[in-house]
């Protein structure tokens, strides 16, 4: 799709997904089985310390299980709600090629949601219950999806920024200590890199087009930049659960570390594209070897998380309606399966 012309590196080499997947699974031959109840905790700690994977039937502390379920569920919800801002443009995409790409991308997001719900279920969660929690507002999804998509350039910018930020967040999760989550992330990250590339390629194409198109791109960049930086979560000193998650290797880098990595990655891409990132404080810092950048509006992040973003109600309403309007379909399929089973039983008995 991108051809040989593409020179901009979108994912730093050291983050190449393929290199991160040589992980080992928990192997009782290496870690001797515990012989006392206390040994369970030691066994778990040893598994984490050795950078081995915890698998579904292993003993794990309650807090680890709960934190993982919450993290994976929020991630899954984000994929599903995240279908909406872009999904609105499938029917309006201005070329058939873009229509196909966008359709496939939004479909991938449904697939990602399903992989993640599947991983959460290995921890004993129930998908119906998680869905219920989402539509009742008891579980969150990424705040970024509460912003509107105002033009087709937004599709490109979402791919570039939002999927780029997701990659920064998610590639390290391919090494998450929980096996099913890590494996789901390997699959997801491979597809996310396509998503980011399609977004950037759309923007490059638009920047080569008309003045109006270039304005559309810059406008979308202006609107999505700060919300994208907020995707990494509050600053480290205001992120109380981070330390424990890092100790458990559920989370591998701090919010600020990942945010800085995203900025460093994105600035040269913006230059290549010919757009301006809307931050007057943004500049290269020779000393630190990183970019300095301004502070996102954390009050805004808190407002959006609490439900006062521009699209929170709309997103939730759509998900709730789809789930409720689909109830008769799901019930009919269940009823048919039960009738079939009864018929089969009757057939065997006769």
């Amino acid at each position: 799709m991108l051809g040989a012309r593409k020179r901009v590196t979108l994912i730093p080499n050291e983050w190449s997904v393929g290199k991160l997947v040589t992980m080992t699974t928990t192997d009782a031959a290496e870690v001797p089985p515990p012989h006392t109840p206390d040994g369970l905790q030691e066994h778990f700690d040893a598994t984490i310390a050795r950078d081995q994977r915890v698998e579904p039937r292993d003993w794990m502390p309650d807090g680890y299980r709960k934190t993982l379920i919450r993290q994976i569920a929020q991630h899954a919800h984000s994929e599903i709600i995240g279908m909406q801002p872009e999904g609105e443009w499938i029917t309006r995409a201005p070329s058939l090629r873009r229509k196909a790409i966008l359709f496939a991308k939004v479909q991938d997001e449904a697939g990602h949601g399903l992989y993640l719900y599947s991983a959460a279920e290995t921890l004993g969660a129930d998908r119906d219950d998680l869905t219920q929690r989402l539509i009742e507002g008891r579980q969150k999804y990424s705040s970024i999806f509460n912003y509107p998509t105002l033009g087709f350039a937004d599709v490109g910018v979402i791919g570039w920024f939002v999927d780029g930020a997701a990659i920064c967040n998610q590639v390290p999760l391919c090494r998450s200590s929980y096996g099913p989550y890590a494996r789901a992330m390997v699959r997801i990250c491979k597809e996310e890199s396509f998503h980011q590339r399609q977004g950037y390629e759309l923007l490059m194409t638009m920047m080569r087009g008309t003045d109006a198109q270039r304005e559309m791109v810059q406008d979308a960049v202006n609107r999505w930049w700060w919300p994208s930086l907020m995707m990494f979560g509050p600053p480290d000193d205001a992120s109380p659960n981070s330390a424990r998650s890092m100790a458990w290797k559920i989370k591998r880098h701090s919010n600020d570390e990942l945010r800085r990595r995203f900025v460093d990655m994105t600035v040269p891409q913006a230059e290549k594209l010919g757009v301006t990132l809307p931050d007057p404080e943004l500049r290269w810092n020779e000393e630190s070897g990183h970019h300095d950048f301004g502070t996102p509006d954390w009050d805004e992040l808190m407002r959006v998380i609490k439900g006062d973003g521009p699209c929170n109600d709309r997103r939730m309403e759509r998900r709730r309606t789809a789930h409720e309007e689909g109830a008769w379909v799901r019930e009919a399929a269940t009823a048919h399966a039960a009738k079939q089973a009864a018929r089969a039983e009757k057939g065997t008995a006769a």
Partner: protein, 103 residues
Amino acid sequence: MTPENPRDPEKQGWPLYEVFVRGNRGLNHVHVGSLHAADDAMALTHARDLYTRRNEGVSIWVVRSEHIAASTRDEKDPFFAPSADKVYRHPTFYDIPDDVPHI
């Protein structure tokens, strides 16, 4: 599922299936994940859509999760009460605290 929250069976979600895929000839079927479906035919259709992107020529197995018996070496431990009849432990619902996401 929990005793205090009995559900109408028809309102309950579709059962969980485990999916195994043989990506290429010469390989074993490998567990790739799970999905929900009302019946076996639907599970195969969903598995093909979701886990193989409808690539022709791959072989798919689906099996109801509840039909898989499982063991792990950890469970040889006498102090540990095994739940040896499920591929995953399915404890009752966890009360997941409503919290700010750290995504």
